[in-house]
Amino acid sequence: MTQKTILRSDELSCPSCVPKIEKALGALPGVEKAEVKFNSGKIEVEHDPAQASVEALVEAIRGTGYEARPSAF
């Protein structure tokens, strides 16, 4: 069962982070699609929470150097 999770980060300061974060998330097992919207700082992830939890997503983004938090919309 995949679900869509929306994360937000205020820290994206250069669009070069977009592919970095997308690829880091995409490399996690259970993540089907990850899209980073630079201008609004929104990160949309389609993932299977059983394989990749929301915490794991936050951790993967943190690994690329940015803090993000889940958001209801």
Binding site: R8, D10, E11, L12, S13, C14, P15, S16, P19, K20, K23, A24, G26, A27, K37, F38, N39, S40, G41, K42, R62, G63, T64, G65, Y66, E67, S71, A72, F73
Partner: protein, 649 residues
Amino acid sequence: MEGMISNIRSALAHPASRRLWLTIGSGAMILAGLIARYGFGQIEVWRVLMIAAALFAGWDIAIRAWRALRVKAFSIELLVTVAAVGALIIGEVWEAAAVTFLFIFGGWLEARTMGQTRGALKALLDAAPATATVLREGEPVEVPAHMVQLGESVLVKAGQRIPVDGEVTEGSAAVSEAAITGEPMPAEKAPGSHVHAGTIAENGLLRIRATGVGADTTLARIIHRVEEAQEEKAPAQRMIERFAQWYTPSIIGLAVVAFAVTQDIRLALTLLVVGCPGALVISTSVSIVAGIGRAARSGILIKGGQHLESAGRIDTLALDKTGTLTEGKPRLATVIALDGMGEDELLRLAATAEAGSDHPLGRPIVEAGRKQGPLPTPESLDERAGMGISARIEGRDVAAGNRRLMDKLGIALGTENEAGLGRLLKAGQTPILVAADGKLIGLLGMSDTAREGAKEAIVRLRDIGISRVVMLTGDQQGAAQAIAREVGIDEVHAGLMPEDKLDLIRKMKADGAHVAMVGDGINDAPALAAADTSIAMGAAGSDVAIETADIALLKDDLGKIPEAMAISRATLGNMRQNLVIALVTVAGLLGGVFTGHIHMAGGMLVHQLSVLIVIANGMRLLRVPNAAAVGGNDSRAVAARQAVAAARS
């Protein structure tokens, strides 16, 4: 001791605080090194401290470069790592320390300031409360706001934010809608009123039946639209992104070629440092995010960079009258019964016919008719767009509408009634002629009042350079002129059918004007679509308006139009300034590197400074002044606050 270690650990786990600590750490080592060398002549101490500083800050950069490389992402961190390692190898320890320090320090500052640029939207996001108090089996229970079920009763106390869209079922309160509409004056809410998630109950206690929760609230839709608008790329941004894709690889190629030709490793490493066109790639984004965010804070939704651009160029503004320049709540001002007809009977027949129409002019007639008692149901109804309505009521053929309808039905007015009609028109009223069985039985005069602040808004529009302000209305000349005089518009086109409005807009455009059209109703839809920029008013109540207009004003306030134009122009100008700053930086850096004026540390410094300047310039847009300060708005807000204070005590 253990506590301290875990404190340090958690501080370092968060990217923002880790960057700060790395900056402080490597900065302190660099400072100590400089003191050792220039204060005490300790060159060896200086060298060790510089290497330590470079490793301390560089370690984090290298790890991030490696992580990116592992998922096959090319990163700026990789360029900086290669440059810093290269500098250490050739013994340029100062350059290595300075480059890594500046990269980390700049990254920390940029992340913070970019967060502020996005801050206007953050205020909207924060407006949505996380939890709601609902009544379940008579007991108040606290649940996450998006878990409230539709139809459940939500309790909101004084000072709390309303967590859902809904209808008030019990209680009353002054509700501040500032977060959504930008309106500082709280609105009085009582049973039957609609309230939006994100607004604040300033006093009282409300019980609300939830009609929309979570992503299905007006607030969420607004946030969604603002974000979509911010993501929509202006043409300039697309061009820059193509340039950036090509820029970094070619700089790397250039570094390799430069080294092969000149054997100058310093030159090659410096090129790597300036290889990210940082200021350029964010130059337009920063302006657009800040401009659209600033507008959203005032309850103005601008639907993307492209609309910012066209709104910034507008020189002609066309406005619909009813519901745009006026309150859109006409009153029945004059009733003239003719031909032995009683006023009551005239109103009863007219109201019965109008009850079959949803035209705003009909509503007060229907209300007046209902006061006489229940209205009969007409046997048949025929609404004629732009003219009125005809109906068969109790065996009589009744028609209510404008002059055109009477002409069409072949009903003559006669000189006396012509004079009566003339008097109504002269008084600025919109006449509705009522006929029964082919004979005129009465004249009704409707009047509508101009919106508060309309006159000031028109003055401001002219002040900011909208040279031509035009009224387009389906209403008749007399009524249109009366309102036009009141608000200070001198060009009036009255008696228009929807397609006439469309033709006029097309003609203005053909004459070279950049036209914005402000309207509300369905009859404005073709003209709105034809204009360069379409502006819808009162969009908080209508999702259609939010979806279709280029600029949606969440509140019925004409003062927001000059504000929207001012923000658009400021944003366009800001974008151009940022582009110039960024292009000059790129040219200056490359020129400086090749003429030997800029080395690694200097290149990194200029690069980071240009990024910060571009962000700071964009942030100026958040301070575009509020145009709501025209006219009596301030005193109204003060009076409202006093009323709220009085209600509290």
